[in-house]
C-alpha cells in the first residue's frame, strides 16, 4: 500500500438501505501511519457540536446524526490535527490516520484522498499535487516543477522564471490564485515570471479549462490554485530547513520555516533565499537573427539571478471560526541574456559579462511582490461562511543601458526625471475582497453563493512605452449548486454575473518625433488616449459526475469570459523584444469561450487509465495579428501588429495510464495534445501563438516502504518524447521534436532520531540540445538547459 504523504484517509461509504430523514451512525478508527491505534484522540463534529474521545481500540462512534455536511476535527498530542468536511447521507465508517507532528509541517495535507475526492466530486478536469510532488520535481520555478502534469506547460524566461500554459493558453487567460486571492502581477508580459515561492506551497490544484464561474474574468483557459494549508498541531512548535543545490546554474538555496501553536493561536514563518549563476546550454554559440553570438564556456551570458522571499502567517483555529493572516514579500532580480535584449543582437562587453557568471549586469529585471491577505471561515450548523481580503503590490523594473531607438535622442537629455537606464517600470496596487456562503437548503443539495471584488491601480515609468497606466475594477456574483441525484451521481450547475471597468490614462512620448517628413522641430506623439470601457458578462457551467467503484465519468460544459487588458486596448509602441510595433484596439469586446470537457477514468488498483478530451470555441479570441505593414512614425520602422478578434476552435486532451507490474514497480505514461485553429479573420487557418507540441511521457517508478536505511525510497525515470511543432504563426519558428530523460530518486533517512529527506534529480540526463517551442528565448535559437543535477535536503527540527 502506498503511504505517500502521511495522513491518509480511506472512506468506505456504506450505502444505507434507508433514505430521507433517517438518523445515521458515523463511526471510525484513528491510527497512526504505522497502523498503531490511538486511544484517547479527540474527535469533534462541529455541525451539531458533538465530541468524543477514541476508546482503547482507537475507535469512535456518533449516532443519531441527521443527514448533512459535517466538519470533522481529530486531534491527538504528538500528531497533527486532522480536519476535513464530510457529507453524511448514510451510515459511515471512516479510518483516519494521523501524521506525527515530528514530520514537516507541510506534509499534513490529506493528499491522495483529497485528489481522489476532487476527481470524483468535480465535473471539471482537475489535477491536484502536494509539496512532496514539488520537491520531487523541483525545478527553477513553481510552474516549471508543475510542467510534468498532463496538460500543463510553461513559457520560460531563463532558468528561474516561468509562466503557466494550460492546454496552450497562458498570460491573462490563466488565473493564479493563492489562498483564495487572485495573484496579480504583470502577467501579460512574455518575460514576466510568476511571483510565487515554490517552497511555500502545500497544495496546488490545476483546473484545466474555463473556470470563470468560480474565478471570474481571465479564468478562460484554466486556474492554478495554490494553497498554504499547514496548521501546526496544538501545543507544538518546530520547523524545518530545506537546502537546495543545482549544478547547471550553480544554484544554492535554502528555505527555513518555523511554526508554533498554543491552543487556538498559531504562527508560521518562512525565509527562502536563492542565488544562481548564468545557466549553461549544450552549445557554443546561438544564432540571433542570423548573427552568431559566441557563448563563453556554454554560459548563457547574464542569466544569473537571486530571490529573497519572506512569509509570515498567524491565525486562530476554533471549533466554528478560523482566521488566518498571510504576509509575504517576494523579491527577485533576474538577468536577461545580454546578447538578445532590444532590437538587434548586441555586441556585449564580453570582458565585463564573462568576468563572473554570478553577477547580474544590464539588462535585468527586478521584481518585488508584497501580499497581505486574510482568509476566515465560520462553520455554523447549516451554514458555512468564507471571507477573503487581500492587498498586493507588484513593483517591477526592467533595466538596460540607454540606447536610442527610432527617434529617441542619441544622448539622453538631463531634463528628464527618470533614470535613462530604466527601460520600464510598473507599479501595481491590487485590493481584493471575496465573500462566499454555502448551505444546504434541502436534502442532497448544497449551494454556494459568492461575491468577488477586485480593484487595480497600475502606474508606469521608464523610457519605454508598452502599456498605459490604468485603473481596473471588477465585481462578480455567483450561485453554484451541487445536487446528489444518488450517492454516486452528482449534478452541478452555476451561474455568474460580472461587471468590470477599465480606465486607461493618456500617454505621450518624452521625446519628439518628426511628424511630417521635412519637420525639423518635431512634436511629442500621443501614444495612447484616455480610454474608459465597461463590460458585462454572464458565465455559466453545467456538469455531471457518475462514479462507480472502478470507473469515474464526467462531463462539463460552460461559458467563460475575459475582459480585455490595458495592453490589448491601448498598446501603441514598439515591443523591443521582437521587431514589432503593437497597436491596441480600444473597441475590443470581452473575450468569450465555450468549452465541453469530458473525463473518464478506470482504476482497478493495479491498472488505471484516464482520458480527458475537450472541445473549445472562442467566438472572438483576442489575437495580436502581424501585418505586412511597417510604421515609420509610431513604430520606429517596425512591422505593425494589430490586436484583432477572430473565431478560434481548439480541441485536444490528455491521457494518462499506469500499471503496477509487481509490487514496488509501476510503469505509466502521460500524453497531451492540443490543436488550435483560427477559423476566421486575417490569420484564418493559422494556429495560436505558443502552441505546445504534442508530448508523451513514459515513466517507471520504484517505490517501497523500506529499503535498508531508507524509508519511503523512490527511484523514478521519465522518458519524454515531444513532437515537432510546425503549426506556427509569425514571427514563430518551426521547432523540431526531441527526446529527454530525467531521473529522480530519494527517500528519508534517520540519523538517531533526526529524520532527513533527500530528493535528487538529474534533468536532461544525456545533455541533449533541444529547443522548447514555448520558451521566450526560442526565437533567438537558445536551446534549453543542459544536464542538471538537483539535490534537495529537508531537515525537520520539530518538538511538541
Amino acid at each position: 500500500m502506498r503511504k505517500l504523504c502521511g495522513v491518509f484517509v480511506a472512506l468506505f461509504i456504506l450505502i444505507a438501505a434507508t433514505n430521507a430523514q433517517e438518523l445515521y451512525i458515523f463511526s471510525g478508527a484513528v491510527s497512526d501511519n504505522d497502523d498503531n491505534v490511538l486511544p484517547g484522540a479527540s474527535v469533534v463534529l462541529s455541525t451539531g457540536n458533538k465530541g468524543t474521545v477514541t476508546d482503547a481500540d482507537g475507535r469512535f462512534y456518533f449516532s443519531n446524526l441527521e443527514a448533512g455536511t459535517y466538519f470533522i476535527n481529530v486531534s491527538f498530542v504528538g500528531y497533527k490535527t486532522f480536519r476535513d468536511t464530510l457529507k453524511i447521507r448514510s451510515n459511515q465508517n471512516v479510518d483516519i490516520k494521523l501524521q506525527p507532528s515530528v514530520m514537516t509541517l507541510h506534509e499534513v495535507v490529506v493528499e491522495d484522498n483529497y485528489a481522489q475526492k476532487q476527481k470524483r466530486e468535480d465535473s471539471r478536469n482537475i489535477e491536484v499535487i502536494n509539496d512532496r510532488f514539488v520537491k520531487m520535481n523541483l525545478s527553477g520555478s513553481l510552474m516549471k516543477s508543475l510542467e510534468r502534469l498532463p496538460g500543463v506547460s510553461t513559457i520560460d524566461i531563463g532558468s528561474g522564471q516561468s509562466k503557466p500554459l494550460i492546454r496552450g493558453l497562458g498570460f491573462n487567460r490563466i488565473v493564479v490564485v493563492e489562498n483564495g486571492i487572485k495573484h496579480e502581477g504583470q502577467q501579460w508580459g512574455e518575460d514576466h515570471g510568476l511571483e510565487i515561492d515554490q517552497y511555500a506551497v502545500d497544495r496546488v490544484e490545476v483546473v484545466k479549462g474555463p473556470a470563470s464561474l468560480m474565478y471570474g474574468s481571465d479564468a478562460i483557459g484554466g486556474v492554478i490554485d495554490i494553497k498554504q494549508l499547514g496548521v501546526p498541531a496544538e501545543n507544538s512548535y518546530g520547523g524545518s530547513v530545506d537546502l537546495t543545490g543545482k549544478n547547471n546554474n550553480n544554484l544554492v538555496g535554502t528555505s527555513i520555516d518555523v511554526f508554533a501553536r498554543k491552543k487556538a493561536f498559531y504562527y508560521t514563518g518562512r525565509v527562502t533565499l536563492l542565488d544562481f549563476a548564468d545557466y549553461r546550454v549544450p552549445t557554443d554559440s546561438v544564432d540571433i537573427y542570423s548573427y552568431k553570438a559566441a557563448l563563453y564556456k556554454n554560459y548563457l551570458r547574464n542569466t544569473a539571478g537571486n530571490e529573497q522571499n519572506f512569509h509570515f502567517s498567524f491565525g486562530a483555529i476554533g471549533q466554528r471560526f478560523t482566521t488566518r493572516f498571510y504576509f509575504s514579500d517576494l523579491h527577485s532580480r533576474n538577468g536577461f541574456f545580454a546578447n538578445a535584449h532590444g532590437l538587434e543582437p548586441r555586441n556585449v562587453d564580453t570582458a565585463l559579462h564573462d568576468r563572473s557568471n554570478r553577477d547580474i549586469q544590464y539588462p535585468y529585471q527586478e521584481v518585488n511582490h508584497l501580499k497581505i491577505t486574510n482568509q476566515s471561515e465560520w462553520h455554523g450548523n447549516k451554514l458555512n461562511v468564507e471571507m477573503e481580503l487581500g492587498f498586493q503590490n507588484n513593483f517591477r523594473q526592467e533595466w538596460s543601458k540607454y540606447v536610442s531607438h527610432g527617434y529617441m535622442p542619441a544622448n539622453f537629455p538631463d531634463t528628464i526625471s527618470f533614470n535613462p537606464d530604466l527601460e520600464r517600470e510598473f507599479d501595481k496596487d491590487v485590493y481584493s475582497g471575496n465573500l462566499k456562503v454555502s448551505f444546504e437548503p434541502v436534502e442532497n443539495l448544497s449551494l454556494t453563493a459568492g461575491i468577488i471584488n477586485e480593484f487595480q491601480n497600475n502606474n508606469i515609468g521608464g523610457r519605454g512605452f508598452i502599456i498605459p497606466a490604468f485603473t481596473q475594477f471588477a465585481t462578480g456574483t455567483f450561485l453554484y449548486g451541487k445536487y446528489y441525484l444518488s450517492s454516486n451521481s452528482i449534478l452541478q450547475a452555476g451561474l455568474r454575473f460580472d461587471y468590470g471597468t477599465i480606465n486607461t490614462k493618456a500617454y505621450s512620448d518624452w521625446f519628439t518625433s518628426p511628424v511630417a517628413t521635412d519637420d525639423t522641430t518635431g512634436s511629442y506623439l500621443q501614444r495612447s488616449p484616455k480610454i474608459a470601457r465597461s463590460f458585462n458578462n454572464i458565465s455559466w457551467s453545467v456538469g455531471f459526475n457518475q462514479n462507480w467503484e472502478k470507473v469515474i465519468l464526467k462531463a462539463n460544459i460552460g461559458r467563460s469570459f475575459r475582459i480585455p487588458i490595458a495592453k490589448e486596448l491601448a498598446a501603441n509602441g514598439v515591443n523591443y523584444h521582437r521587431f514589432s510595433y503593437e497597436v491596441g484596439d480600444p473597441d475590443l469586446s470581452a473575450e468569450v469561450s465555450y468549452q465541453l470537457d469530458l473525463g473518464g477514468e478506470y482504476n482497478s488498483g493495479n491498472f488505471a487509465i484516464g482520458i480527458s478530451p475537450f472541445v473549445n470555441y472562442f467566438p472572438n479570441y483576442i489575437f495580436l495579428n502581424p501585418t505586412s505593414e511597417h510604421d515609420r512614425l509610431y513604430g520606429n520602422g517596425n512591422q505593425v501588429f494589430y490586436y484583432t478578434q477572430s473565431e478560434v476552435l481548439r480541441f485536444g486532451g490528455e491521457i494518462h495510464a499506469h500499471y503496477r507490474m509487481f509490487n514496488p514497480l509501476t510503469v505509466g505514461m502521460i500524453g497531451e495534445y492540443v490543436y488550435s485553429k483560427q477559423i476566421s479573420g486575417e490569420k484564418k487557418g493559422f494556429t495560436l501563438p505558443f502552441s505546445p507540441p504534442a508530448s508523451l511521457l513514459f515513466n517507471a517508478k520504484y517505490l517501497k516502504e523500506n529499503l535498508g536505511w531508507f524509508r519511503n525510497p523512490y527511484f523514478s525515470i521519465d522518458y519524454k518524447l515531444v513532437g515537432r511543432q510546425n503549426r506556427i504563426v509569425p514571427p514563430e519558428e518551426n521547432t523540431a521534436g526531441y527526446q529527454l530523460v530525467n531521473l529522480s530518486l530519494g527517500g528519508d533517512i534517520r540519523l538517531r532520531t533526526q529524520k532527513i529527506s533527500l530528493a535528487f534529480q538529474i534533468q536532461n540526463l544525456f545533455n541533449r540540445k533541444y529547443f522548447n517551442h514555448t520558451s521566450y528565448y526560442r526565437l533567438i535559437n537558445v536551446p534549453e538547459a543542459g544536464r542538471n543535477f538537483v539535490l534537495n535536503v529537508n531537515i525537520p527540527f520539530n518538538k511538541n
Binding site: Y291, L343, V403, S404, G637, L696, N726
Partner: protein
C-alpha cells in the same frame, strides 16, 4: 503485458494523429538577397552625406511580398552588431553630437513574389542643429510578406563626408 500493448498502441495513435499537418497556409518567410550583381549597400560599405545612392537588392517570397523598411541609425557606441558574418573595422567609440537618423517604409507593388529594389535614397548633409556626425552607422532592412512573416538584415556601414 496486454495493458502495455494497449498503452503502446494508444501512444502510436496519438503520435500519428499529432504529426499530420493539414492546412494550406503560407508559413514561409520572405528573403533578402544581397548576392545579386550590383547589390548595394553591402556590409562595410560607405555612404556619403549630401549624396544620393541607389538601394539595390532582391526580395523574394513563396507567396506575396508586403512592404519593407530602411532604418539608418548611429552605432557610435558599438551597441549592436551586424547580421553579416564579415566584421568591419570600426572607428573609435564616441558620443553622438548630431547623429543622423532615418526611418522610412516603402511599399512593394501588389501581387509580386519577387521584387528587385532600385530605390534612390538621399542622405542630407545637415539639419537645423548643424552637420550630421560622420562615423559608424547601422543600415537596417526589414522585409515583411503579405501574411506577416518578416526577416531582418542589419549591415554595418560608415557615413562620411567627401
Amino acid at each position: 503485458m496486454k495493458t502495455l500493448k494497449i498503452l503502446l498502441g494508444l501512444s502510436i495513435v496519438l503520435f500519428v494523429f499529432t504529426t499530420c499537418s493539414d492546412d494550406d497556409i503560407d508559413d514561409e518567410k520572405p528573403e533578402i538577397d544581397l548576392t545579386i550583381s550590383g547589390a548595394f549597400p553591402l556590409n562595410c560599405d560607405t555612404l556619403y552625406f549630401g549624396e544620393t545612392f541607389t538601394l539595390k537588392m532582391l526580395f523574394t517570397d513563396n507567396a506575396e511580398l508586403g512592404s519593407y523598411n530602411i532604418d539608418i541609425h548611429n552605432n557610435f557606441n558599438h551597441h549592436s552588431h551586424t547580421t553579416e558574418i564579415t566584421e568591419c573595422t570600426m572607428d573609435e567609440a564616441k558620443e553622438a553630437v548630431n547623429a543622423y537618423v532615418s526611418i522610412d517604409d516603402y511599399d512593394i507593388p501588389e501581387g509580386l513574389d519577387a521584387y528587385e529594389v532600385s530605390e534612390e535614397i538621399t542622405i542630407p548633409d545637415s539639419d537645423s542643429d548643424g552637420e550630421f556626425d560622420e562615423g559608424d552607422y547601422h543600415f537596417f532592412i526589414s522585409l515583411v510578406d503579405k501574411e506577416g512573416w518578416s526577416v531582418q538584415k542589419g549591415l554595418s556601414i560608415k557615413i562620411l563626408r567627401r
